[in-house]
């Protein structure tokens, strides 16, 4: 056996190994993909079946033809001739899961918190990085220290306090606290320290630019990538925040998507499986669509969050 042959064999062996390994990995990935997607697929399939179909056979794997009826139910648009039970069911679902209102409320909360969080976190980070003042060190230490305090810890006091201020059933306790987001400030400070040249501030001062204007016109554009990443996470987090919203918002007209879902889950009368599934589908639809549009960007953002350590 010549040297060359031996080498060739080893190489073939090596290639075979790599291919086998790749195939195994591919198979595992396909399996995980299925685990991630099948529940969502079944959810969507089930929301196209009527209650009676699901009662007769709950294991539906393919799309049905009753999506329209389920939409009618949760929009309270059932035909006039419908039976009382259908009407009552529609009334119950439509008032608890008022999908348009839910999207709007969630959007108002998530949108405003995102803007506030990102802007004020950038502002605070800028203040900490650019200016040299006596308390900047302790202030930053404080922010890091409180970064990991869970919401639940102060929730009892938070709700009791909002209650005494008359701020229950109001978006204010859900939006304004977003100004103070320690974790995002921490991220922005790290980002600024690594990629924000302080000279530029000085240059801008020489040009006679005011401090706040410098921040707005020079710092903000330069921090766009970090802000965009944090904006996405802030939006998702606030869109999905069930805990605080559920404690503060008791008036139906302020109900957000997660609250509506939990209400549908709590129903004890007029149950309609098809409508149940449709409600859940509608509750995740907007965010999933947006996710797939922005996925590349979001994945990159998560990775960036990981490097921050």
């Amino acid at each position: 056996m010549s040297m060359k042959q031996q080498y060739g064999q080893a190489k073939d062996n090596y290639h075979a190994k790599i291919i086998a390994k790749s195939a195994l990995i591919f198979a595992v990935c396909v399996l995980l993909t299925l685990i991630c997607l099948v529940p969502i697929y079944i959810l969507i399939v089930n929301s196209t079946h009527s209650n009676m179909e699901l009662v007769a056979n709950p294991s539906q794997f393919f799309f049905g033809s009753h999506l329209g009826e389920n939409i009618q139910t949760i929009m309270n648009k059932v035909p006039d001739g419908a039976s009382k039970v259908v009407k009552r069911t529609a009334q119950q679902y439509s008032s608890a899961f008022n999908v348009g209102k839910g999207y709007l409320n969630s959007f108002i909360i998530a949108g405003s918190t995102t803007v506030l969080t990102v802007f004020f976190s950038a502002l605070t980070a800028y203040g900490l990085v650019v200016y040299d003042f006596k308390l900047s060190g302790p202030a930053y230490t404080f922010i890091i220290a409180v970064m990991m305090i869970p919401v639940q810890v102060s929730s009892a006091g938070f709700v009791a306090f909002m209650y005494s201020l008359g701020l229950v059933n109001s978006f204010i306790p859900l939006i304004v606290p977003a100004i103070a987001a320690p974790a995002i400030i921490f991220f922005m400070v790290s980002y600024m320290k690594s990629s924000f040249p302080l000279d530029i501030v000085e240059a801008s001062r020489i040009d006679g630019c005011g401090e706040f204007r410098t921040f707005l016109t020079i710092a903000i554009p330069m921090m766009k990538p970090a802000m965009a990443v944090q904006a996405i996470f802030a939006f998702v987090a606030n869109w999905n925040n069930y805990y605080t919203q559920n404690m503060i918002l008791k008036n139906e007209k302020f109900a957000t998507v997660p609250i509506m879902v939990s209400k549908v889950l709590a129903f004890d009368k007029n149950l309609d499986n098809g409508a149940n599934f449709l409600c859940v589908t509608l509750s995740i639809l907007p965010i999933v669509i947006v996710y797939f549009i922005l996925s590349k960007f979001i994945i990159a953002g998560v990775a960036l969050g990981g490097v921050k350590e």
Binding site: T124, A180, V236, P258, V261, N276, I284, V288, G306
Partner: protein
Amino acid sequence: MASAAQRRIKAISYAKYGYMFIAPFFLVYCFFQVWPLIYTFILSFKGNQSEHALWVGLNNYSTILLGQGRAAGAAASQEEFFRALGNTLILWFGNFIPQILLSLLLAVWFTDAKVKLPGKGFFKVVMYMPNIITAASVAALYVNLFGDSENYFVNSTLMKMGLVSAPVAFIKGPIASKLMVMFIQTWLWFGNTMIMLMSGIMGINPSLFEAADIDGANSRQQFFRITLPLLQPIMVYTLVTSMIGGLQMFDIPYLYHNGANFNKQLETVAVYIYYNFNQGTVESANYGYAGAASIVIFIITAILGSITFYMNRDKDAIAKKKQRKKAEKQYKAKMKQGGLTL
């Protein structure tokens, strides 16, 4: 040579702008976080139900931690709190271990240049997807699919396929329900952890792997000798954030039930706090217990948090110290050479 403008700018103190820029954060934080925390602290010294207006000192703490207190059911309250604490630990542990193992495996595979994996980008996108879905919807989804009888998708399908003869109690079963919550939590978070770990691995200097390759190290050796040790900081970070996240686990355990009440077998500390606090009128709620449990969790978090904090800070400080020493050495060396002029 400094220009006149530069001199003028240097002369101005900008400190006040620093305070101005960070003021909104501190005002809002104090108002919406610090004061509520103090308020919670105050609540923890007050009574429960009909005694809600009474100052009871450390009674709530001694009740939930030691089982001794004013209430006839003090021991029961202690039992419940520790059950909640135990559930929190079990549920956290049971989702963290599979999650970190799976994520690590995937991260290593995805960053392995030798593996030819088609659709890598697609896999990443799909695996991260559960993380962005509202937890309330996820709970609703699983409750509607995994109901305990043949009237729900999973049991019906399993029975039709002949895999089980009687429906599995995925929701009410004491063990099955915990396993389900662990599964759901893993399902939600493994994509996120995977991407974080991937970015950590990609941050490792590639020449280390090249050198290892040349030295003939196989991929297992490379993983245990290079990847894992260098990934340690990010692993610690993941561990601590996940631990603190685990202490707050609420949405899934609270909403994963069928029927009127939340599932007692899944009661976590966060659910305990919520349940004791949210019992309708002040006469029927237990603000005191909720407050005391909150403070206990706060202390646990503070301990966990300061561990990481010190680890990070020490590293920075050590690095700075080293740098300073190095600079001093260089300075001294240069002074010795006599080549440095000021």
